[in-house]
């Protein structure tokens, strides 16, 4: 069993919702989530952003669903920190 402690995502998002609203939509998923979002490029209708989520056990699917629900898409997972928890799973 493993737990995701940190994940960095390359995200393409519309201008609206804005960066704050997207970060909040992810942060509200769990009380221990810490989300930072940096817009790296701005196009006519879209923005590229690097979203970093930190937490004790990040629900990857939940994060992706929250991002998708805000009209954004995940291009790639750029970095992860994962720890083992209860030993190897059989």
């Amino acid at each position: 069993m493993s737990a995701i402690k940190r994940i960095v995502l390359d995200v393409l998002k519309p201008h609206h919702p804005n960066a704050l609203e997207l970060a909040q939509a992810i942060a509200v998923l769990a009380p221990d989530y810490h989300v930072s979002l940096k817009v790296t490029a701005v196009d006519e209708k879209t923005e590229s952003a690097v979203v970093t989520v930190e937490g004790n056990a990040i629900d990857y699917e939940g994060v992706i669903n929250a991002i998708t629900a805000m009209g954004a898409t995940v291009h790639s997972i750029d970095a992860v920190d994962v720890t083992g928890t209860d030993g190897p799973q059989v």
Binding site: L12, P14, H16, E44, K45, T46, A69, M70, G71, T73
Partner: protein, 193 residues
């Protein structure tokens, strides 16, 4: 979980339609008030009319304004939202079926249509209150028709003042400017009678 009010505000926000809905409320509210004023001035200029007939005529016009406002705004806004969604999906190189944008494209046209249709209806209903009181047999200080014309002018002033607040213009000046339009409309009706 967002409550419904915050959800609606969010959907209006991501589609940048708060301003459109607000503009529709004022513009069509003004339409409703001026239409009622026109009818009432016409009745008055024609020598007066029974409150029952005036009430029915005004109610018919108000309902027609509401139906027209709802249907026209829905058709145009639904087309606009679909176009905006297609353009966004093209820019994202992705279908956005599960996103708030698709939800907004479905719900926002209803909200804008309701704002567009209900505002003239509500303003008209307020203006019609004296007529309804007359029909119901309440003793009024003036003729119901005259009172309704007075309420129409007050409604127009309030809408104008509201418009002034939105545009950060002095509310009294904005309200008086709206009343001036109502006076000119009334004068035109009286002259062309």
């Amino acid at each position: 979980m967002m409550n419904w009010y915050r959800r609606i505000a969010f959907l209006l926000s991501i589609t940048r339609t708060q301003g459109i809905a607000r503009r529709y409320v004022v513009v069509n509210g003004f339409d409703g008030a001026l239409t009622m004023l026109g009818l009432l001035m016409g009745f008055q200029a024609g020598g007066g009319i029974a409150p029952e007939i005036a009430f029915s005529a005004c109610l018919g016009a108000a309902l027609a304004l509401a139906a027209s406002g709802i249907s026209s705004a829905y058709l145009s806004e639904a087309a606009e939202r679909r176009k905006a969604l297609r353009e966004l999906e093209h820019a994202m190189v992705e279908q956005l079926q599960e996103s708030a944008h698709t939800e907004a494209a479905r719900i926002v046209p209803f909200l804008v249509a309701l704002a567009n249709g209900l505002s003239p209806l509500l303003v008209s209903v307020v203006i019609m209150v004296p007529l309804w009181l007359g029909v119901a047999g309440y003793a009024l200080s003036q003729e119901p028709l005259v009172l309704a014309i007075g309420v129409a002018f007050i409604s127009i002033f309030v809408l104008g003042a509201f418009l002034g607040r939105i545009g950060h213009v002095f509310w009294l000046w904005s309200g008086l400017r709206a009343v001036l339009i109502a006076i000119l409309t009334s004068a035109l009706i009286l002259v062309l009678r």
